[in-house]
Symmetry: C2
Subunit: 208 residues, 2 copies
């Protein structure tokens, strides 16, 4: 047994190759889902983007829904990373919130990863949907807590945290519907503008 791996186990080389191919498929699917939605994109559509027949996809994913599920998992990973970063790098609520908005916008625009998480949750099976929704709820809770903290600290005026967070997430998620990577609006600039606007709406007016 070469290099000590189990008999009949795939070599590291083929494992890596397979991993890359999976990522390619996921990326192609991601773009297709974003452009035409999960239900209207067929496996042929995804396969065509890769120059391959649709049956080839079944060597990497058991079914169509699993492809969508993995898209969601990747997005959630990005979100989790964002949250850790915000906690580690910023102090006050408004800075943390602004950072999260900027990063979320970046995920939505640069990598385009966020779009299925925004729009295609209902397409998942009940169990998987429950898992994704639970994670998304956790993210929403983090945002609500930030709004509350800001209000307690006197940074923000007293607003309904639930409603404010729904507004923020709606604004961000909606990006997937109109943003065009090759368009006139720069992704990073968009993130900053969104952060300015959406955090600005929470801030106390300067005492005169």
């Amino acid at each position: 047994m070469a290099h000590g791996r189990a008999p009949n186990a795939p070599s590291p080389r083929v494992r890596e190759k397979r991993r890359r191919r999976r990522a390619e498929i996921l990326h192609a699917a991601l773009r297709a889902f974003r452009e035409t939605g999960y239900h209207t994109t067929t496996l042929d559509d995804i396969a065509e983007r890769l120059g391959v027949r649709k049956t080839a996809l079944y060597h990497y994913f058991p079914d169509k829904e699993s492809i969508l599920y993995e898209c969601h998992r990747e997005s959630l990973g990005e979100i989790a990373r964002m949250i850790e970063e915000a906690e580690a790098c910023y102090e006050c609520a408004s800075d943390k919130l602004a950072y999260l908005i900027r990063e979320h916008v970046r995920v939505m625009t640069e990598t385009l990863e966020g779009s299925p998480l925004a729009f295609e949750v209902p397409a998942l099976s009940p169990e998987r949907r429950a898992e994704i929704v639970a994670a998304r709820d956790g993210y929403e809770r983090v945002l609500r807590d930030l709004v509350l903290q800001g209000t307690r600290d006197g940074e923000f005026r007293p607003v309904d945290p639930k409603v404010a967070v729904f507004a923020i997430l709606g604004a961000i998620n909606w990006i997937a519907r109109w943003y065009q990577p090759e368009g006139a609006i720069d992704a990073l600039e968009l993130g900053s503008k969104f952060a300015d606007y959406l955090v600005g709406g929470l801030k106390c007016e300067q005492p005169s």
Copy 2:
């Protein structure tokens, strides 16, 4: 020919009955589309809500897409009404904008009419989609012009009107995804809070 109507023409009575039935179907479809999305709701689903077989629907609409199209038309009618009202009843940009936000939220929650307009535009045929998109673009232009006017008048700080309007519409459209008519959040209150938050983010900070 009774009452002077053309021979073989339906009587006013049956015309009215048909009109009502169409509205019933549209409303049932609207709720179904909102709850599960256009592509996953079948004609059986819509018919079941009406206690009828799906083939009965074909007496009122030529195909499934036409039902969706009529939903869009109704929403656009509401939007147009909103715009006229805002122009007629309010003076400054912030008041007009706040009114439009409140009303749009009301359309989104009370009547639930706005949800297909928010989410199911891509499901329309190219020609119909073009028509609906053009109308929606007109609405967006009205909002952008309000933001610009507010900035010119010194009410609003200088923001990117395009980006601000996308944020506002995203926040509002997203309501269709989480709002539950029987839930804890009151529709009118939600409209006011959205208007406060989204217009507040545009306003100049008070000079100290």
